[in-house]
């Protein structure tokens, strides 16, 4: 989410005049703090390192302090995204940046990869309105999905908030809704998923509850593989059933 923090940082005194602060150059510490919201593994030393690797070239004060323009920050942001979402090595990112400000290339696939991850980011919190805007789905359908518990918002401060699995679920459901498949029919899918979850829980459960952090991590990764394989298998089984349907007529 692009909340683009125009927020006055604690030590922020450069915004004393109500002027648009986002025009001002930032010190390295300020940049780290801002980007820290989106990327938890950012650090001052890392930013310096990236400069060392010729990925950035901020202006300097006469005294030698780095000064980051708004553009620099954006550049850095996209570097970090490519790292995190597309797993690109710096060497490649450098080229990618040099080759014009190309953007949004494999972005779709990458975001999918993240969205489908079991290891939940917990990051996203959407209001109903945002969910509607984001998916282009009517509030009535969402209501329907909630009634049948396909979507399970959480109440925070009396407001329902949705997360990113909810969003993906809504998107997928809207596809089905086009064909008239709605809440009551979807219930069968939910129970199917619930049962699969129980099955997988039985397999990795022990490792998951292990106190050993390594074992736990491994269990989570196995869980990802299992979930994928499971969905895959179910899909193939469905395809076979459907072929029988279309074949024998």
């Amino acid at each position: 989410m692009e909340a683009s923090v125009p927020t006055p940082t604690p030590f922020d005194r450069e915004t004393a005049d109500g002027a648009p602060s986002n025009r001002k150059a930032l010190t390295i510490g300020a940049v780290a703090k801002i980007l820290g919201r989106e990327f938890e593994d950012i650090s001052i030393s890392k930013i310096r390192y990236l400069e060392d690797q010729k990925l950035l070239a901020p202006r300097r004060t006469p005294g030698g302090y780095r000064l980051y323009s708004q553009a620099d920050v954006e550049r850095l942001r996209s570097i970090l995204r490519m790292q995190r979402d597309e797993f690109l090595p710096l060497r490649v990112i450098r080229q990618e940046l040099a080759a014009g400000a190309r953007q949004e290339r494999g972005g779709e696939a990458a975001s999918l990869r993240r969205a489908a991850s079991v290891e939940g980011g917990k990051g996203t919190r959407l209001t109903l309105q945002e969910l509607v805007d984001d998916t282009g789905v009517g509030a009535d359908l969402i209501k329907d999905l909630e009634d049948w518990r396909l979507v399970q918002p959480v109440a925070v401060d009396g407001v329902k908030v949705y997360d990113d699995t909810d969003r993906e679920i809504v998107k997928a459901s809207s596809e089905l809704a086009r064909f008239g498949v709605r809440g009551r029919n979807l219930k069968v899918l939910r129970t199917a998923a619930d049962r699969e979850a129980v099955l997988l829980e039985a397999v990795v459960g022990p490792g998951l509850r292990s106190t050993n952090q390594n074992a736990r991590q491994e269990a989570i990764e196995n869980l990802e593989s299992l979930a994928a394989a499971c969905s895959n298998l179910t899909h193939m089984l469905l395809v076979r059933d459907l072929r029988k349907l279309t074949g024998e007529d």
Copy 2:
């Protein structure tokens, strides 16, 4: 070491009847040589390393030699491609593979999509032996899958033959078998798929039975979309369930 060598292969693997040799299982050296054409940085040790990292799991001879099925070679090929072309780290490739390359960027997803197509080309007919060589799965697991009716061969002239959905199902199951999920547990997946099929049948059934050829064709295409959306939705529901599992600790 694996004590249970799954090779009571009933039939001699000699292709006395001049069968296409590319159906046969290969030794590691042969695999390296073949893939060496496309990937210069392949080596025997690298292939072994990838196995060590759980990216491959070829069958073994009773003596311990690795035997690579056609499917294994393809899997390896796509591993190498993801490394070379998409710079993905092995950790990510592992997941991507488990997902059965459900979405393949960059174009050619043809082979899988064909296999996943509802519109069945009844073409493929595999014997048990071919199925084993092709998928690299032990005959015992296949037997297990048959017992639980995940795989449904047809008897022709007293010989059981499998089709390509069976093959894909076996492949997906082998992924799960690695974690000890076998026949009895898989039954829940089959019934889930069956129910989804019933659901979709209700939606497109009328069109499917239409005498109007156009309407029929359209129904089939809708069915594909529906199947995809359905699987997708079930997967997301599963992911959400699993996140709850990993989250609350």
